[in-house]
């Protein structure tokens, strides 16, 4: 008898607790449903809508024309391919540069480490647009890099408004996104394990490949996602550093809304790009889970 009373009281207390938890989360819940989930559904709805003769979106005559256009138009597929490729290249370059860099920071003495980290954080927190703009000034035909090249007796450098300029801009913009998770993973690594490998006569490279690298894999996975995702949908960087012939998904989608006024097609594109990113994230999850 007594036991069941306590149980009832406990249950009532748990119930009250969960109600309280729900109430505390409620403002965010309402806000995110109204200004995030609902708009997301709207984009999906729009992607099946049709257009009037004057270019207005008509929420009737539902069709899959927009999706068909994405997968059958060579130009769109080319833009898709270019965006995914440049995102992969950006991720690979960032990873190759950042891993030894993060390793260096993580193995420095604590005092030095703090300074080195703050020096990475400063560009990380600095305005992205401004950092991209700096490359526009640097890479211009009369910019500093071109001037140096000419002073050395070379040709003027014509990189601005090409794919290379966009790649440089993306690597520059997203490098800290790779360094920080890598640092966090390497810093908390158990060095005794590496030492044990060395004691068992593994050479430096083998110990790295078989112990250090697998143990730091969560950082590699996190950094890669963080660089890949914003690179695929990048808009500001291609708009500032790229040319008219190197259109990427981000600026292509924006032009559907601000210039071409084809909202259904733009919505379909936005949905597909989001889908690609979710796939990429899930793929990384799998790889990450396997290596752990």
């Amino acid at each position: 008898m007594e036991a069941s009373v306590t149980l009832d009281l406990e249950q009532a207390a748990t119930k009250a607790e969960s109600k309280r938890g729900f109430r505390i989360g409620l403002p965010a819940y309402v806000y995110l449903v109204l200004f995030f989930a609902f708009p997301l559904v709207l984009v999906l709805v729009y992607s099946f809508a049709s257009r009037s003769a004057t270019g207005l979106t008509v929420l009737r005559n539902w069709n899959v024309d927009s999706y068909e256009r994405i997968f059958t138009t060579p130009l769109v597929l080319e833009i898709f391919g270019r965006s995914v490729l440049i995102a992969l290249a950006t991720t690979a370059i960032c990873l190759l540069v950042s891993y030894p860099f993060a390793y260096y920071i993580a193995t420095s003495s604590p005092r030095v480490r703090n300074i080195l980290l703050v020096l990475v954080m400063i560009p990380f927190w600095s305005n992205f647009l401004v950092r991209t703009y700096a490359w526009r000034v640097l890479l211009g035909s009369d910019g500093v890099i071109s001037q140096i090249s000419q002073a050395l007796g070379g040709e003027p450098v014509r990189v601005l408004f090409t794919i290379s300029a966009v790649l440089i801009g993306l690597v520059y913009g997203f490098l800290p996104f790779m360094v920080l998770p890598l640092y966090a993973a390497i810093e908390r690594l158990d060095w005794d394990l590496v030492e044990a490998a060395r004691d068992l006569y593994a050479n430096g490279w083998t110990a790295f490949r078989r112990v250090t690298l697998p143990l730091s894999m969560p950082g590699v996975v996190a950094g890669s996602i963080l660089v890949f995702i914003p690179s695929v949908g990048a808009y500001v960087t291609p708009a500032i550093l790229g040319g008219a012939r190197t259109v990427f998904l981000g600026d292509y989608i924006v032009s559907q809304f601000l210039a071409a006024r084809n909202w259904p097609f733009g919505s379909a594109l936005s949905f597909v790009i989001m889908f690609v990113m979710l796939l990429a994230t899930m793929f990384y999850f799998r790889v990450g889970a396997k290596t752990l």
Binding site: G21, F22, G25, P27, A28, Y29, Y31, L32, V33, F35, F36, L40, L42, V43, F101, P110, R113, N114, V118, V120, M121, I122, W125, S126, N127, F128, L129, V130, R131, Y133, A134, R136, V137, G140, G143, V144, Y172, L175, L180, P181, Y183, A184, W191, P218, G219, A222, L226, I229, G233, I240, G250, I253, F257, L258, G266, F271, I273, M274, M277, T281
Partner: protein, 290 residues
């Protein structure tokens, strides 16, 4: 230093680090130097001057955009910090039906691409205002209010993730001890929980402020006539070409970023002995995303 292997490996690592720092800082440094250049041509150095900074103060469009940016950043940061912190506490400390959905909903704005977010909110406000007009006859248009609403929408999630990392670190027993000592829930929150999570809340707020001051894509989509923010205005100028005035405005924006960094570092130093851990707070936040 055994972790670095042989001294040759250590040297290569050190050299690589120097190159990375040059890569990170040279463009910013050159931009700052050239913002003090008197010449109309941004690339040719003539003599130092504050001419372009003076022009900023006289440029009504720039000053208006700057004011808009500050208003948007301030309001959206305050709201998203409060709502995001509540969300973090709710998700990290309680179990209830619907929590899983909220958890997923809270992460999506971080994963979703900027452009998709921009498109979503553009269509949403277009539809919502259209509906409002046909139902009540009140006609609203995009402006500062839509920018603020949009910034809150993406900032709540970022604040929540940072604060959750902080809550996960401290012992729940501390709250229970307070309750055992007859503290009310409200007292427990303000005397125990809040001081403990404050660095996380401050970190989240600074991240929200930075993201709001940085945003171009979403803002461009939901802004109305005369309601551009500074980054959107500068972005428009940059697309038309490089001018010394943009250099100077850029340096002002950089300076704002630096002040925020200094604030966050100072704040964290005051709170914790191990500053290195705190500096990596954003990094630990990313790991929670994956």
């Amino acid at each position: 230093m055994s972790a670095r292997g042989s001294s040759r490996v250590g040297k290569i690592l050190g050299f690589n680090a120097v190159l990375v720092y040059i890569f990170l800082y040279a463009p910013i440094a050159l931009l700052v130097v050239f913002s003090f250049n008197d010449n109309r041509n941004v690339a040719i150095w003539t003599e130092p001057s504050l001419r372009w900074y003076g022009q900023i103060l006289q440029d009504a469009a720039v000053m208006n955009a700057l004011r808009n940016s500050l208003v948007v950043a301030l309001i959206s940061t305050i709201v998203s910090t409060v709502v995001g912190t509540m969300l973090a506490i709710s998700l990290e400390r309680f179990r209830y039906r619907g929590r899983g959905v909220l958890d997923g909903l809270a992460y999506l704005p971080i994963i979703i691409p900027d452009v998709t977010m921009a498109v979503m909110l553009l269509i949403f406000f277009f539809q919502a205002f259209g509906l409002l007009d046909s139902l009540t006859g009140i006609s609203l248009t995009n402006g500062l209010h839509t920018i603020i609403l949009a910034h809150i929408a993406f900032n709540i999630s970022f604040v929540a993730v940072v604060v959750r990392a902080r809550i996960a670190q401290f012992d729940k027993a501390l709250e229970e001890v307070a309750a055992d000592l007859y503290a009310t829930r409200w007292q427990t929150f303000w005397k125990v929980t809040f001081p403990l999570i404050l660095p996380g809340v401050a970190g989240g707020a600074l991240l929200a402020l930075t993201l709001s001051l940085d945003d171009v894509v979403v803002t461009q989509f939901v802004s109305g006539a005369g309601s551009t923010t500074l980054p959107v205005y500068v972005f428009g100028l940059v697309r038309r070409g490089v001018t010394p005035l943009i250099n100077a405005v850029s340096v002002v924006m950089l300076l704002a970023s630096m002040i925020l960094i200094a604030l966050s570092l100072g704040l964290q130093r005051g709170r914790s002995g191990r500053a290195a851990d705190e500096v990596v707070e954003p990094a630990s936040m990313f790991e929670r995303v994956t």
